[in-house]
């Protein structure tokens, strides 16, 4: 193992190489600087860490299992595939790992109100959940298009007492919801905590969200050692903003023997104009507080992302991923809507697990890759979320296919 150090970033300015930073309006600067200070202090406070550990265990249900996907492994006939079962967390996805951390920080800072953006609604549900648990009012910004395709999650958020604000600007998806959340924050600077759901936004969010998610990789390491006595050979996770992926990858970045694969949403194909693959189809730019790879036109206008999974439908990606892409530590590939759907069905039938459409992108890459690898290759896929929220999307897709046939 080489003694590289890829886990120490970002620097004091929030930069991972040339990516990250704090590109926000002056009104927000004192807030993000304050947040960075408060987070540094909390991280070093045993009481905060103890609280975090308590809620991770008794509320989220951690550690969740590392499961040997025996039938999928047989089906592929190559690498031994394990699922890190983040979908078994309370609220059904990895998102709550981050929300618990941030809500504890919000309470510590004396904030009185939570706001968040959501795409597929999983982060919205997780935020609404912790808001209910900690007795804070909560406003969720969600694109009108996403509200349409994620009705079940919208209802869940309402049950949990959150106010949902539909965003019609732009294409009514995740990036527009994030714009609107930033506008709320800039207007309610005194009492509001912005609970960003992914490893993006101004520093310290990318690092902080990664830290709260990195428990995924830490548990994976221990669990695989217990089962197999060694490190994995490869890790596979889907990437929209990239929080489940950063959570799985981070602990292994300095283990050079571990191949790491991030899977972007290829939509109709990266060579079309309908995809959400920022690294494979975008160029560096500045949006939502950080410099990263973005889908944009020649004039620097942000173009619309497309993915069948609302959670990956974002024209940017976390800055640490942009950096890991440039230094080539992580391979970023893309999977189309159709490939993801096929993997969705395969996983339902073979493993009795209904994965989220986001997760299905990682599964599709695993299914593609596993047959080419030896039987002693250990592959871990982050089963980032469950697919209950996607029933409507899958049903209408199946109906459309039947019509065509």
């Amino acid at each position: 193992m080489t003694q590289t150090n890829l886990r120490s970033g970002p620097d004091a300015n929030g930069l991972f190489g040339a990516f990250g930073g704090r590109y926000v309006a002056e009104t927000l600067m004192p807030l993000v600087l304050d947040l960075a200070r408060e987070y540094e202090a909390a991280k070093a406070d045993p009481e905060f860490l103890e609280q975090l550990a308590y809620f991770q265990r008794d509320y989220i249900g951690r550690p969740n299992p590392l499961y040997f996907a025996e039938r999928l492994t047989e089906h592929c006939g190559g690498a031994k595939i394990f699922f890190k079962r983040e979908e078994l967390n309370h609220t059904g996805a990895h998102k709550v790992n981050n929300c618990i951390g941030q809500v504890l920080l919000a309470k510590r800072m004396g904030k009185k109100r939570l706001i968040a953006e959501t795409g597929a609604g999983m982060h919205g549900v997780a935020t609404a959940t912790v808001a209910a648990r900690f007795g804070l009012p909560c406003v969720i910004y969600m694109g009108a298009t996403d509200i349409e395709r994620q009705q079940a999650n919208v209802f869940r958020m309402k049950l949990l007492g959150a106010e949902i604000v539909p965003v019609t600007a732009g294409t009514g998806t995740l990036k527009d919801a994030m714009n609107e959340a930033l506008r709320d924050w800039v207007t309610n600077v005194d009492d509001t905590f912005y609970l960003i759901g992914t490893v993006a936004g101004p520093h310290p969010y990318p690092a902080m969200v990664r830290d709260f998610q990195s428990i995924i990789g830490k548990e994976t390491r221990e669990q695989l050692f217990a089962k197999e006595g060694r490190l994995p050979d490869s890790l596979v996770a889907c990437v929209g903003g990239g929080s489940n992926a950063m959570g799985l990858f981070h602990d292994f970045l300095d283990d050079q023997s571990v191949q790491i694969i991030g899977v972007e949403a290829g939509g109709h194909g990266v060579d079309t104009d309908k995809h959400a693959a920022s690294l494979n189809g975008g160029v560096p730019g500045v949006l939502h507080g950080n410099r990263t790879y973005l889908l944009q036109d020649e004039d620097g206008q942000i173009t619309d992302a497309h993915s069948i999974s609302a959670g990956l439908d974002y024209p940017g990606i976390g800055p640490e991923h942009a950096w890991l892409h440039e230094i080539k530590r992580v391979d970023y590939v893309s999977i189309t809507d159709d490939e993801a759907l096929a993997a969705f069905h395969t996983t339902c039938r073979l493993e009795g697990i209904i994965p989220a459409l986001e997760t299905s992108h990682a599964l599709a890459e695993a299914i593609k890759r596993a047959p080419t690898l030896p039987k002693d290759h250990l592959m871990v896929v982050c089963l980032s979320g469950r697919g209950d929220k996607d029933m409507q999307t899958v049903m209408s897709h199946m109906a459309a296919q039947e019509k065509q046939a």
Partner: protein
């Protein structure tokens, strides 16, 4: 002396504040927008802020969001915005033009090319909403080296500790955002504004222009008694949104500009 310095010095001698008007370049279309731009000085605008449209204007309220969309739909680009300034300069060498917007279109254009072309077109200053002093090296430094002023936003959240940092590279004037919020939001009280200006004065000799939530000649006059500049944006942009034709858009914006100018010019005599 830069055009901005010259203009503020001139107005100081006249004993009045500047009317700073904001419109989005290319709204509602290139030709009408250019007609507005060319008409603003005669309608009483002392300094012109010209918005560079961006798909994701995070710090703007609905009025400027919609203006941005109208401009982008009409085909506005950063190159066309620079062209618009060039065409304006053919007939006007005295009214300062400040480009205002977000960093990404400039990042994509290339900072070096942008600074050179902006200078050449006759741009006097830049306000880039999402470039705080922490990122000065990227655009503020090269722009100032080329003789383009970099105007900073200060806000109610900019405390005395942070203010020197924010003002360090400010030039031209200082823009005081009088309310924490997006453009077009509610207005601040004159007590708040006069306290804020007093605080700024302890840190800088630059002229202070106050914006956000100023819509009427009366509000403009009230601010003109306190500050060196009064910024009006959303109210002008709303005239474009409400107009039934491009001709009406041009006429209504210039008419409101004249009324605002009257308010500003009469303020200190009253």
């Amino acid at each position: 002396m830069s055009r901005l310095e010259h203009r503020f010095a001139e107005l100081k001698a006249e004993g009045r504040a500047a009317l700073v008007t904001f419109v989005t370049a290319g709204d509602p279309g290139y030709d009408a927008s250019l007609a507005i731009l060319k008409g603003l000085p005669a309608a009483g605008a002392d300094v012109i802020e010209l918005g560079m449209p961006f798909t994701d204007p995070m710090a703007d309220g609905v009025a400027i969001q919609l203006a941005t969309l109208r401009a982008l739909e009409a085909g506005q680009t950063l190159a066309k915005t620079l062209q618009m300034v060039r065409e304006f300069r053919v007939g006007n060498q005295t009214t300062p033009i400040v480009l205002m917007g977000y960093y990404n279109p400039i990042h994509r254009f290339g900072v070096e090319a942008f600074v050179a072309q902006a200078k050449d077109a006759g741009v006097d200053g830049l306000i880039i909403v999402d470039l705080p002093p922490e990122h000065d090296a990227e655009l503020a430094a090269p722009a100032q080296a080329a003789g383009i002023d970099f105007i900073r936003l200060t806000t109610p959240t900019t405390d005395d500790v942070r203010l020197p940092r924010v003002l360090e590279r400010s030039s031209g004037f200082v823009y005081y955002v009088s309310v924490a919020g997006v453009t077009g939001a509610g207005s601040a009280t004159t007590e708040h504004v006069s306290e804020a200006i007093a605080r700024l004065r302890r840190h800088t000799d630059l002229p202070v222009s106050v914006g956000f939530g100023i819509r009427t000649p009366e509000q403009a006059a009230a601010i003109a008694r306190l500050a060196e500049g009064v910024v009006v944006g959303s109210a002008l942009v709303d005239k474009i949104a409400q107009a039934k034709s491009e001709e009406q858009a041009v006429g209504d914006v210039l008419a409101l500009c004249s009324a605002l100018a009257e308010g500003v010019r009469g303020a200190r005599k009253a």
